[in-house]
Symmetry: C2
Subunit: 238 residues, 2 copies
């Protein structure tokens, strides 16, 4: 049984109200039980000293050495697809070490969200990533950005920009990555079902994106982030 | 829109009754429409010449050149877990090119199946793999074996035998595969939640299995087959 892990909301290692609820009512933790609490990328082994409906008193027993994070920050630009698939992509990407998620409103996105809906979704997406990060014992919660368009991605942030496309017939992912991953921050843009439009792809290529195929295989859209991140995990294994 | 694909049940390219139903009632195909039909690993472009409730007459227009299959046959030994997770693993493994599946009854398998239940499940598992193979435009349906124990895997069939284990701290998958994949038939055994027991692992190692870790990451059991097969897809990209 692995130790329960929570992300704290401040440097005093305070837990969010729903985590206090989870710890007491779901995990049935009591005084003297131990949990792991993460703040600012550092993992603390803590003992519960007091517990009430609204607060948990913790004593730090040790700072743990952890190496669950990938040495390269990988951002996924995920085109909006149906809610259940998008949520699954967030959960799995978090499990596999993604650094940040940019939800992309593209031409063929099947859902169109009002501003109000976008704010609601963003809250839910952040919660999904937090919970998945806790369960997979990450040290950081992937950052989920607000919904944006392809034109508004801040490209200055990345030193390798990849665009996955079944239209690409010449260059596959292996040709790009087999030279070694000498990058600090990578972004990978993944289209919706039906792919990005030719115009959308052209605009990304003009901005320095490298278009790559993922091989001969026809993958479901929700499989693509898992596929990509599994490969990065492999290549970055020490 | 990709062309609809079905696996035929004989060399005359006859379709199974449920596929005839699917073609007519779900896909609403009519005379003169085209579909792809696969038999014995060969893909035929066919035109529908006649259609009744119980049969479909097809004319072969062309034999298609396809290269969707991995050049190495990968068998996954999957420990039985809950039905929904196991079904998801079958579907995703098929999508990612698995050659064969061996469902394994191990000590920590959460479900115990009677012989009758096993036969029912096997029928369902085969259907899941067939449908996933059609959707991902495979040329073969992965072979699903009957439920077996670890002791009864036919090991003569494989020239690389891997056992994924979070207990392994020294050898990771990359160390084994980065030397190149000079194998014809590989088997990868994946434990249930909680892993294989120490005794189960020892027995496999005695029989020539190489125990490997998948890196520092803590993966959910249903993510592991996708992770492994994505890496093989990457390494085998041409």
């Amino acid at each position: 049984m692995m130790m329960q892990r929570y992300f704290a909301i401040d440097a005093n290692l305070s837990l969010a109200p729903n985590d206090i609820y989870h710890l007491q009512k779901v995990m049935r933790k009591q005084v003297n039980d131990q949990i792991e609490v993460v703040y600012a990328g550092v993992v603390y082994l803590c003992q519960i000293e007091s517990i009430t409906g609204t607060s948990v008193g913790l004593k730090v027993m040790a700072q743990l050495n952890c190496i669950a994070e990938l040495p390269v920050e990988i951002t996924l630009g995920l085109s909006l697809v149906s809610e259940s698939k998008f949520n699954l992509m967030l959960q799995k990407a978090t499990e596999l070490g993604v650094g940040a998620i940019i939800p992309l409103m593209v031409e063929r996105s099947v859902i169109k969200l009002t501003n109000e809906k976008q704010a609601q979704r963003l809250t839910r997406w952040k919660r999904i990533c937090k919970e998945a990060a806790e369960q997979s014992h990450r040290e950081v919660i992937p950052h989920v950005q607000a919904v944006t368009s392809l034109a508004n991605i801040n490209l200055m942030d990345y030193d390798l920009k990849l665009l996955c496309s079944p239209k690409e017939k010449n260059v596959n992912l292996k040709e790009v990555l087999s030279k070694g991953i000498d990058y600090d921050r990578i972004i990978v843009v993944i289209g919706p079902e039906g792919g990005l439009t030719i115009k959308e792809e052209e605009n990304l290529i003009k901005q320095g994106f490298l278009r790559v195929s993922l091989g001969e295989r026809i993958l479901r859209v929700e499989t693509v982030p898992i596929f990509i991140l599994s490969i990065f995990n492999y290549l970055l294994m020490r």
